[in-house]
């Protein structure tokens, strides 16, 4: 204990060195003048003032920034995990689109699912009662249609869809 006290005394003597650290000569002559000038000019520097105001209004933002600055490894790994998740999602969605068979099968399935609704609606085109399933009749005579943008290559192809009745 005595040794510890003695060491603390030595430490206090060493810390006394800090009292001899002084700013440049004449530094305080103009200090108050600068403070008053800044008050007259409108307070703290605009950047610092706006930052401080933001942190006062949104204190959790400061905490988040502190966490980000304080734990860079954690934040980096979290961001990496997020990127991997995003990339995985993109790759998976492309894979599932590519491996799900022909697009028409998908469309047929969707139309089959919508068939009962279509039959109930009087506004839909004529349904063929004898038809079993879906038929899509493509007209081979493609008719050029004037495009809104004046493109001659735009072609429209009327499609008739026969949906079996109930």
């Amino acid at each position: 204990m005595n040794e510890s006290q003695e060491n603390f005394e030595a430490l206090r003597q060493l810390l006394a060195l800090k009292r001899h650290e002084v700013p440049p000569h004449g530094y305080f002559n103009d200090f108050s003048g600068q403070v008053i000038a800044r008050i007259r000019a409108g307070g703290a520097s605009p950047e610092a003032a706006s930052r401080e105001r933001l942190f006062d209004q949104v204190p959790w933002l400061l905490r988040i920034l502190q966490i980000i600055e304080g734990k860079p490894v954690f934040v980096g790994s979290f961001a990496t995990a997020l990127c991997v998740l995003l990339l995985g999602g993109v790759v998976y969605s492309e894979y599932s689109e590519g491996s799900a068979g022909e697009p028409m099968t998908h469309m047929a399935q969707m139309i089959n699912m919508a068939a009962p609704l279509a039959a109930a609606s009087p506004m839909l085109p004529t349904a063929t009662p004898a038809g079993a399933g879906l038929t899509t009749n493509f007209n081979p005579n493609l008719q050029p249609v004037a495009s809104l943008f004046g493109e001659q290559s735009a072609l429209a192809q009327p499609v008739s869809i026969s949906i079996p009745g109930n």
Binding site: L14, L17, E21, V22, F31, I36, R38, G43, A44
Partner: protein, 210 residues
């Protein structure tokens, strides 16, 4: 005639300097926007506020900015000062909070920009004794010692560093520190003890008895 001429001279001898204006009066005047009164308040505390911020940051430029901004913020917040504590304690609290917030944002970007040691440092009897008698590295110059000391202080957490700076460097009492840090005296004492232990470990090369 002689009497009239002699009277001001005699008064000058008796009362050479104007009596300092009471702090409460200055605060009241500053609260009403009197910048001359506030200028007087700034002059009274500028050295202590600057020193506290400087010893916390170990950087002159940062200390300059933070000390100025502390005084500006105090002026803007004077309307909220209710006088529950002294103006000095209240001002200190503003400066300390500002400095701690700054240090939290500045973490991991430490850059020492130390002030020069004054002439008295070489003749400080405590330091002379410490360097010549007790320190194994007797060739350690004051500048090297200063840098080691500041580096060690920066390794402490902000509350621990603050307690050491306020008590061991600036000589404030436990009670004053407790008011500034808004905690009880027991907390101040325990932080001081822990901080000294930590510093002792960091500076062991310079504190071992020969």
């Amino acid at each position: 005639m002689t009497m009239i001429m002699a009277e001001p001279a005699a008064r000058q001898e008796v009362d050479p300097a104007p009596a300092p204006v009471d702090e409460d009066v200055l605060v009241r005047q500053a609260r009403h926007g009197d910048l001359e009164a506030y200028d007087e308040l700034v002059r009274r505390y500028q050295e202590r506020i600057y020193a506290t911020v400087y010893h916390m940051t170990s950087n002159h430029e940062d200390a300059n900015d933070l000390a100025q901004e502390s005084f500006i913020k105090a002026f803007e917040a004077l309307k909220t000062f209710k006088g529950g504590s002294s103006f000095y304690t209240w001002l200190y609290r503003i400066a300390v909070n500002k400095t701690i917030n700054f240090l939290k944002q500045r973490k991991n970007r430490v850059h020492l920009s130390l002030n020069d040691l004054d002439f008295n440092a070489e003749h400080d009897p405590d330091l002379v004794a410490l360097i010549s008698d007790k320190t194994p590295r007797r060739d350690a110059g004051l500048a090297e010692l200063q840098e080691k000391l500041n580096t060690a202080l920066l390794k402490l957490s902000e509350p621990h560093r603050l307690v050491v700076v306020l008590h061991d460097v600036q000589g404030l009492s436990h009670d004053e520190i407790a008011k500034i840090m808004n905690c009880n005296i027991g907390t101040v004492r325990s932080r001081l003890f822990y901080a000294r232990q930590q510093l002792q470990g960091y500076l062991s090369d310079y504190l071992k008895t020969a």
